[in-house]
């Protein structure tokens, strides 16, 4: 019995179902109450702040910045990811409670953008985390971000934003991809 066993829960997340009696109203509410945790090491975080200020006022869409992944619904990846930051992102994402969504800002998460040939930038975020909405641009302006969120709301409202479900369903494949990139996987097997 390793030391981690004592301090971390080493258990695979159970598969979740989607639906239920209140599905419509649930989706409606989820779409209009997006609590955001922003992973802001890329340049996208510069554009994210104005989105919440008076001029663009993301709060009118029901969005809010929260301080901890436990309470967040949306994880924003604000630009390029490196191997080092990917680890943190995975942990943050897995610590969020379902249903949860990922929004990727800018070109970098799509194909590496201007860092496509960097030795440690991640070229395709899709391989490692289920991205629900891509907002392209380098960087996307707040208007574009708002448009992207509008899109996310539509997807949630119509029940199509189910990345969280896919992630659990295909956890083994995602993990395999992640471990390919992250050679020294020093995290617990499953983040809780």
């Amino acid at each position: 019995m390793g030391k981690d066993k004592k301090y971390f829960l080493d258990e695979k997340p159970e598969k979740l179902t989607y639906g239920g009696v209140f599905r419509r109203i649930n989706d409606w509410a989820r779409a209009r109450s997006l609590w955001v945790v922003a992973y802001g090491t890329g340049c996208g975080s510069i554009e994210l702040r104005p989105t919440f200020t008076s001029r663009f006022d993301a709060e009118r869409l029901g969005m809010r910045m929260v301080a901890t992944p436990r309470q967040a619904d949306v994880l924003i990846i604000s630009g390029y990811l490196t191997v080092k930051t990917l680890k943190r992102v995975i942990r943050v994402y897995e610590q969020m409670q379902s249903p949860k969504y990922v929004v990727a800002l800018g070109a970098c998460p799509i194909n590496g953008g201007m860092y496509y040939d960097s030795y440690n930038a991640i070229n395709r975020l899709d391989l490692y985390l289920p991205v629900d909405v891509w907002i392209t641009g380098c960087m996307p302006r707040p208007e574009a971000i708002l448009a992207g969120f509008k899109r996310l709301q539509e997807l949630i409202d119509s029940g199509r934003a189910d990345g969280w479900k896919k992630y659990i369903d295909n956890l083994d494949r995602y993990r395999e991809n992640q471990k390919k990139i992250i050679k020294n996987w020093k995290m617990p097997n499953y983040n809780w």
Binding site: K6, Y7, F8, L9, D10, R88, Q95, W192
Partner: protein
């Protein structure tokens, strides 16, 4: 009857014989030496018995050479002389035995001769009826002493002997001159004759001068301040056996003859002289000993001080204005003091002989070296420091009561000296008990043991003497129980047996004291004591713990002395049990980690107790319920002792460490019950003393502030405390502050609050301390930052502590709230609104540390080293559960306690019953508001369960995650320490209240102690060690005496 001349003659003869035998058969000397001493002892004892039993009616007069008294030399042996002779030879025998076992210095025979001569001289001094003969015996004693002091041939001993010789020669010159002048003036040398002449009206202009010459000479030998430097040097430098003999026996003979001379020569200024020199010596010496680092010199200071007390008592005896009843008290006190001092000091010096070094630090660890040593040392120290039930205590009690008739200042002086004595003796005790490792001590312990057994054996005698004089009665049942408690010590080979015996004894005590369990104040507290002690005793199950063999006896003594205390009807009896409780608890605290804390506790307790005794001595009648028209100072004096036990600000400085570092098994008793004795005492003071005070309301208001400030500051300090037990200690003191506040209100409602809180505080604080004991036992530390997350390992203890903390914080559904509600209602009804504000604020602050207790111990991260910790031992768990039940039950049904309290208060006519009504819907209704305990409990529990069920039915899928699975900015935490928030929990708050928690009281008290210590240190410098200086002191003081007291 044995002719005293035989004693002198045979001893003298043996001395010569030994001298001769020594020349031929040195090893045979012992065969003469010991039998002589035994004979002397037996002869004196027979005479003493004769006097005591009445078979010898009048003093034995021995005419020497057949001449009738005025002309010839004669011996006059009365009761006092016979007793003193017995004492001298008893001590001499002990010393001789001790020395013999260790080996006399060579040449053995000569030492024995000197030894015999010393004892003989001392006996002769007390026996003689002739002044010139007195001089001769003084010289015999002195010469023998010089020789004996020098006998060890250490440099110090020689130096001391030389100094003694110089000073002694001067003093005997004075005596000789005085004697001769006396002869010249009166034409006689016979004591009785001269006494008769002076009583018959003979007077002469020079008579005063002459008698002062003799007395000055004797005062030198009696080691009064400041002409006692030589004596201290002897105590320090000479062989302890010689010192034991000198201090234990020879000096007492000088004392007797001093008294005799003074009374025969009957000068009116004698008593003043004695009071001034005695009192001065007593106070100054006790005080000078404070910082003394040399054990033997410390004992020397103590001896000198005791002698001073004796001289002071002598002064009282010589005073013409002392009433006859007080004279009898002083006489008894003198007898007890002599007895006490002789045996305790010889025991201590003979013990000192067994310790290698002389410095106090060399004594470290001697207590754990041998039980005999421990017993003798403890008994002797307690006796000489004047703690009950030893003779020294009764002597002091009698003396104080007699002195009170004389002047309150004299009482103050005696008590101040007694306090100073406690300061350094307990400092000695705590220094001696420091350190883990055992010290090497000699095994020559029989003589000190016998001496201390004498002390123990003298207890009934002393008690009887004091009880007769003071018309004192102690509850017999309690005395039996106390005696039985001490017997538990004999089961020391097995802690388990001791534990079982203790449980049985408490049960037996409950049975024995059952008739006293009535619905009155005493019965209320008695019930608390017995039930509480039984429960808490259960939790002390020894198991594999490393308990001292005197733990259980001391525990029981505390318990039963508390029982005796609450059953007392006189202040005397209360004081006696109070003191017993104090020393027993001192012993217990001293068994813990904080030896110094125990010392501070003892000193403050003694200060309070002596203040109380001072107050008692000023009362016209010792009955508790009969204090008529006291002054405010009297009320304050009487309550001071209780305030110390309650650790009321600013007397609280002992509490933190004494609670925090006492043995974990004792702290629950200390906090849960023993602190309530202060409450009981204060209740008595409020009820019987303050009530008759003209300035009663302002006195109460003052104490109310004292109570609430205690609550406030102690709560505040608890917030920043990093040690579990010390935190609880502060909390405990704060809670007792609330109780004091309730009492000070002196309204029925306030008292209801106070009594309710008294019981309830026992439940939750007892529980918390018991839990703390279990936790400390398991975790091995009481330091909060090293714990955390223990809820996983100790769920039951967590649950119990949770409920206790909720009760402690006074949050409604549990029992703690009732006390708060009653108290605030009472406060607002009474109109003490400023106090109410502070009390409220203090209880808000209590939330801060309440959270700290639970978080730092049980919540947060479980530390790596505590992963294997198990739940507390079963007996502790059982006690936790037992104490848990009332917290919940009383929370719903507070009337279970409120009704008995109402009945108790019904007996207290001065107060009456509280104005509370009970209705079905509103619950308890006061004039201000109402509070429905049952509803709140049901409502809270119902709502909670409903919410829980609803939650369980509707919640998302809940996963129990690992302790380090926390949102940590995407990082994986590496160790629990990184995540645990345990150290400096309220540092931010500390910045706001820095100015409030400045340790003012501690600094002030320490400052006072250190300033006094520094003064003592400076004062001691008058003993320069220089022979010329000592001689100059003697001359100077003698001249001063002659000049000042001539008239």
């Amino acid at each position: 009857m044995v002719n005293p001349i035989l004693i002198i003659g045979i001893t003298l003869g043996s001395a010569f014989l030994i001298g001769i035998v020594q020349a031929f058969r040195p090893r045979w000397t012992g065969w003469i030496f010991y039998p002589t001493l035994v004979f002397d002892f037996l002869a004196s004892a027979v005479n003493l018995y004769g006097f005591l039993s009445g078979s010898i009616g009048k003093p034995i007069m021995v005419k020497i050479g057949g001449f009738p008294p005025p002309v010839g030399i004669n011996l006059l042996v009365g009761k006092a002389e016979a007793a003193l002779g017995t004492l001298i030879f008893a001590v001499a025998l002990l010393g001789a035995y001790h020395w013999g076992r260790r080996g006399f210095p060579q040449p053995q025979g000569k030492i024995m001769v000197l030894f015999l001569l010393l004892a003989l001289g001392a006996a002769g001094i007390s026996f003689t009826g002739d002044f010139f003969n007195l001089f001769v015996f003084v010289e015999i004693t002195s010469i023998a002493s010089y020789g004996l002091v020098a006998s060890s041939r250490r440099e110090e001993a020689l130096e001391a002997a030389f100094k003694y010789m110089v000073v002694g020669s001067i003093s005997s010159t004075f005596i000789l001159l005085g004697v001769v002048f006396l002869y010249k003036a009166t034409g006689s040398l016979n004591m009785l004759d001269i006494g008769g002449k002076i009583a018959g009206g003979f007077s002469s202009q020079v008579l005063g001068l002459i008698s002062l010459l003799i007395l000055a000479g004797l005062l030198v030998e009696l080691e009064v301040f400041p002409i006692n430097g030589w004596a201290l040097d002897i105590y320090q430098g000479a062989d302890p056996v010689v010192v034991a003999l000198l201090a234990g026996a020879a000096v007492k003979a000088f004392y007797l003859v001093y008294l005799k001379t003074a009374s025969y020569l009957a000068l009116p200024s004698f008593f003043k002289l004695s009071l001034i020199f005695g009192g001065g010596t007593y106070l100054v010496s006790q005080f000078f000993a404070w910082r003394q680092e040399n054990a033997r010199r410390l004992l020397g200071y103590s001896s000198v001080g005791q002698l001073g007390l004796l001289i002071l008592a002598g002064g009282l005896l010589l005073s013409p204005s002392l009433p006859a009843s007080s004279r009898a008290m002083v006489l008894a006190a003198v007898v007890l003091l002599i007895l006490n001092h002789s045996f305790s000091k010889s025991s201590l010096f003979l013990l000192a002989d067994n310790v290698k070094g002389e410095k106090l630090e060399d004594w470290k660890g001697v207590l754990s070296s041998s039980p005999v040593f421990r017993f003798s040392f403890t008994t002797s120290v307690f006796s000489v420091a004047g703690l009950p039930p030893f003779p020294g205590f009764w002597a002091k009690l009698l003396l104080v009561m007699a002195a009170a008739r004389f002047s309150p200042w004299l009482v103050a002086l005696i008590l101040a000296g007694a306090l100073a004595e406690v300061v350094y003796y307990f400092r000695f005790f705590y220094l001696v008990s420091l350190g883990d490792k055992k010290a090497e001590v000699g095994n020559n312990l029989l003589a000190p043991l016998v001496a201390s057994l004498f002390l123990v054996g003298a207890v009934p005698l002393a008690y009887k003497m004091a009880a007769d004089k003071l018309s004192l009665t102690l509850p017999g049942g309690v005395l039996v129980l106390l005696g039985l408690s001490l017997l538990v010590y004999l089961l020391g080979f097995s802690r388990l047996l001791q534990w079982l015996a203790s449980l049985g004894l408490v049960a037996y005590g409950a049975y024995l004291l059952l008739p006293f369990l009535k619905a009155d104040l005493s019965g209320f507290f008695l019930g608390l004591i017995l039930a509480g002690a039984a429960v808490l005793l259960l939790a002390t199950y020894p198991g594999a713990k490393n308990l001292s063999s005197s733990f259980y006896p001391a525990y029981l003594v505390v318990v039963f002395s508390m029982a005796g205390l609450v059953l007392s009807t006189t202040w005397f009896s209360l004081f006696v049990f109070w003191e017993i409780m104090s020393w027993a608890s001192f012993l217990l605290i001293n068994m813990g980690r904080g030896k110094k804390a125990a010392w501070i506790y003892a000193v403050l307790s003694a200060a309070g107790a002596y203040a109380m005794l001072g107050g008692i001595s000023l009362l016209p009648s010792p009955y508790i319920s009969s204090v008529k028209s006291p002054g405010p100072w009297l009320a304050l004096l009487l309550s001071l002792g209780f305030l110390v036990k309650m650790a009321t600000v600013p007397l609280h400085i002992w509490a933190r460490d004494a609670y925090g570092e006492s043995p974990d098994d004792f702290t629950p008793l200390l906090s849960g019950i023993m602190s309530k004795m202060g409450v009981f005492g204060s209740a008595l003071v409020f009820l019987y003393v303050v009530i008759n005070l003209s300035s009663r309301s302002s006195f109460n208001y003052l104490l109310g502030w004292a109570g609430v400030l205690t609550a406030f500051f102690m709560t505040l300090l608890a917030v920043f405390q990093e040690d579990l037990k010390k935190l609880l200690a502060y909390s405990s003191v704060a809670q007792v502050g609330y109780i004091l506040l309730g009492l000070a209100l002196f309204t029925p409602l306030g008292w209801t609050a106070a009594l309710y809180h008294t019981v309830n505080h026992f439940f939750f604080k007892g529980l918390l301390f018991v839990a703390a004991a279990g936790i400390v036992y398991r975790v091995g530390t009481s330091y909060l930052p090293h714990m955390g997350g223990l809820i996983r390992r100790m769920p039951l203890t967590f649950f119990a502590s949770l409920l206790a903390v909720i009760a402690l914080a006074g949050v409604p559904p549990l029992s703690g709230f009732a006390g708060k509600w009653l108290l605030y209602t009472a406060l607002i009804e009474k109109g003490w609104i400023f106090i109410a504000v502070v009390a409220f604020l203090a209880s808000t602050l209590a939330f801060l540390y309440s959270f700290k207790i639970l978080h730092a111990v049980f919540l947060g991260q479980l530390q790596e080293e505590n992963c294997e910790v198990r739940e507390v031992p079963i007996p502790v768990a059982v006690v936790e559960i037992i104490l848990l039940i009332p917290l919940v039950v009383l929370g719903a049904f507070p009337r279970l306690i409120l009704d008995p309290i109402t009945r108790v208060l019904g007996k207290v006519t001065a107060l009456g019953i509280p104005d509370l009504k009970y209705t079905k819907t509103l619950g308890v209704v006061s004039r201000l508001g109402h509070w429905n305990a049952l509803f709140l409990m049901v409502f809270f529990a119902g709502a909670f369960i409903l919410a829980l069920i609803f939650f369980a039915l509707t919640s998302a899928r809940v996963k129990l995650v690992g302790q380090m699975d926390v949102g940590y900015s995407g990082e994986v935490p590496r160790s629990p320490e990184d995540l645990h928030f345990g150290y400096g929990m309220y540092d931010h708050f500390r910045r706001a209240v820095k100015w409030l928690i400045y340790p003012l009281a501690t600094r002030v008290w320490r400052g006072i102690y250190e300033a006094l210590g520094a003064v003592a240190e400076m004062g001691r410098r008058i003993y320069t060690g220089d022979t010329n200086t000592y001689a100059a002191y003697v001359i100077g003081i003698s001249l001063l005496i002659l000049l000042i007291f001539k008239g």
